[in-house]
């Protein structure tokens, strides 16, 4: 029952932030490994179990602003709950699919989600709304210190924190922002602009990470280089590029307003109409129309709704939907229930 409560809670990172029309959320991830035992992918089941024991015990001692961590061992979790964790971005696909002993420690507000026995023994994640990466890093670093007081992490002077994959060695840090770029997509600029980011040492992915599609016009930007640059440098660089991205998106929005305002208004009002009235909505439709609706709200073309864009987007995914309703749903039933949830959310007026 307690676990149910924890999973159903609203994740902090999905909250709306004032004055952040493009940057939806940010994440800091620190990869750490225990000294003297192999990395998870070559660990025996027994070894993985021991690592999990040690880490789960250390994690449950940690308190962040009065919020204690709860450890969930994925091996004893029903598949639907694993799916909910995945959809809410609290665990990775790798962790969800792994068979070895593994888990995640969460705070009540899900701002902190520490994965155990993913590709590395420890993956500290801080997920927050808006773009304050520096604050997220501060919190992740505190958790890192608290853990390091209990266990020994692999660290070498020249190579920094050692990780299973050489792409993470050094700081072990992946900083990322989730951005909503509908106008750049609509004006065909997104491919060109995002394509140049690789040359700037950044990676671009869709809403659900590597290999996922850019549904809902949402993209995740993150640093590629982890060795030879300090955490501050990495964050500063990502923020500078993100600011440019925001500027391009905002310019594209204004250009559309001036040059194609009727087309834009029509698209946005249609989206609102469908979200408020449809009796069946597929995931893809939902994400597309929510993206248009959010654009319209940001541009002041339609009144805002009471609920958060990101929360609606995430909570109407199959796993979350079935978990909230506490029943298994056939795909068609999902579309029906999804439309019901969205209709309810869209009819709430902001401030009422």
């Amino acid at each position: 029952m307690q676990r149910n409560d924890l999973l159903l809670r609203q994740s902090a990172w999905m909250q709306e932030v004032e004055n952040s029309p493009v940057v939806l959320s940010n994440r800091i991830r620190l990869a750490r490994n225990l000294e003297n035992i192999p990395f998870p992918h070559v660990l025996t089941a027994e070894g993985a179990w021991q690592a999990e024991d040690v880490l789960a015990a250390a994690l449950q001692k940690i308190e962040i602003e009065g919020d204690r961590l709860t450890y969930l061992a994925l091996n004893s979790l029903p598949p639907l709950e694993v799916k909910v964790l995945l959809e809410k971005h609290l665990i990775s696909l790798d962790l969800a699919n792994a068979k070895r002993p593994r888990g995640v420690a969460l705070t009540q507000d899900h701002r902190l989600a520490v994965m155990v026995n993913e590709e590395d023994h420890v993956r500290i994640q801080v997920l927050m709304p808006g773009d304050r990466l520096t604050e997220s890093f501060r919190q992740a670093s505190l958790v890192d210190d608290a853990l390091e007081a209990e266990v020994d992490f692999c660290f070498r002077e020249a190579q920094g924190y050692l990780t299973a994959c050489p792409t993470n060695v050094g700081t072990g840090m992946r900083a990322s922002v989730m951005v909503h770029l509908p106008a750049m997509v609509m004006t065909n600029q997104v491919q060109q602009v995002l394509g140049t980011l690789t040359q700037l040492g950044l990676t671009v992915r869709g809403l659900f990470g590597e290999g996922s599609q850019a549904l809902g016009n949402i993209f995740q930007l993150s640093n590629q280089i982890t060795l030879g640059k300090s955490e501050e440098d990495i964050i500063t660089h990502l923020q500078a590029v993100t600011r440019q991205m925001v500027e391009i998106e905002m310019t594209a929005r204004e250009n559309m307003r001036q040059q194609a305002s009727l087309m834009l208004e029509d698209k946005i009002w249609r989206a609102r109409g469908i979200l408020q009235n449809a009796r069946r909505l597929s995931s893809e439709e939902m994400m597309h129309f929510l993206s248009m609706d959010r654009l319209g709200t940001d541009m002041g073309m339609i009144p805002g709704t009471g609920t958060s864009f990101t929360a609606m987007l995430i909570n109407s995914h199959p796993g979350c939907l079935q978990y909230v309703l506490d029943k298994e749903l056939e795909p068609e039933q999902r579309d029906e229930e999804r439309s019901r949830i969205i209709r309810a959310a869209m009819s709430e007026k902001r401030g009422d």
């Binding site: 070559v42 390091e148 020249a158 050692l162 050094g170 491919q191 016009n217 060795l227």
Partner: protein, 175 residues
């Protein structure tokens, strides 16, 4: 892999796109990717980390010269296995396969040593060493400026740190 569009150049980009609810995967070369006007692409730096590593290691002639059957003494993983998995087996692998790893780290991160956070507890020694290094640089600068008064203070600071570190342990013993 050859580009799906022109079939001539090596593909360097992986695109996933949705057209009418159907997902298509495309591997394109840089030129074709630029020309492509399709909506909602997501770029991947390469075809997954393992692919990237294989590509990188494939370019590295050292791989073929090294006796492939040597294994890491701690985790027992061979270099061939590392290449296949795209992952090292344990922290010792970093030392064991240092030579093969160096060009990969250079390609991935542009070379350079770790900068940034040092572990709070276990890194105390490293932090002290780095501070000593910085102080020594400052000392040299002060001497060049003939600011001997301040230099003396910095020198004492260095001595103090070196003592806590146990650098020149016999000097400690004499006192």
């Amino acid at each position: 892999m050859l580009c799906h569009r022109c079939g001539q150049r090596e593909a360097s980009m992986h695109l996933i796109q949705t057209v009418n609810g159907k997902t298509r995967e495309l591997y394109l070369c840089e030129q074709c990717a630029k020309q492509s006007q399709e909506m909602n692409p997501v770029f991947h730096p390469a075809m997954g980390v393992a692919g990237l590593l294989q590509a990188l290691w494939g370019f590295n002639p050292a791989v073929n010269e090294v006796q492939k059957e040597e294994n890491c003494p701690v985790c027992g993983v061979s270099f061939t296995q590392i290449t296949r998995a795209g992952k090292l087996g344990c922290s010792r692998c970093y030392e064991k396969f240092e030579a093969q790893l160096a060009p990969v780290l250079r390609r991935l991160h542009g070379g350079g040593q770790h900068k940034g956070k040092i572990p709070q507890r276990r890194g105390a020694v490293i932090r002290d060493k780095m501070e000593i290094k910085e102080l020594k640089e400052r000392l040299q600068a002060l001497i060049r400026q003939e600011n001997f008064e301040e230099a003396a203070g910095v020198r004492d600071q260095i001595k103090g740190l070196e003592q806590t570190l146990g650098v020149g342990g016999d000097a400690n013993a004499k006192e």
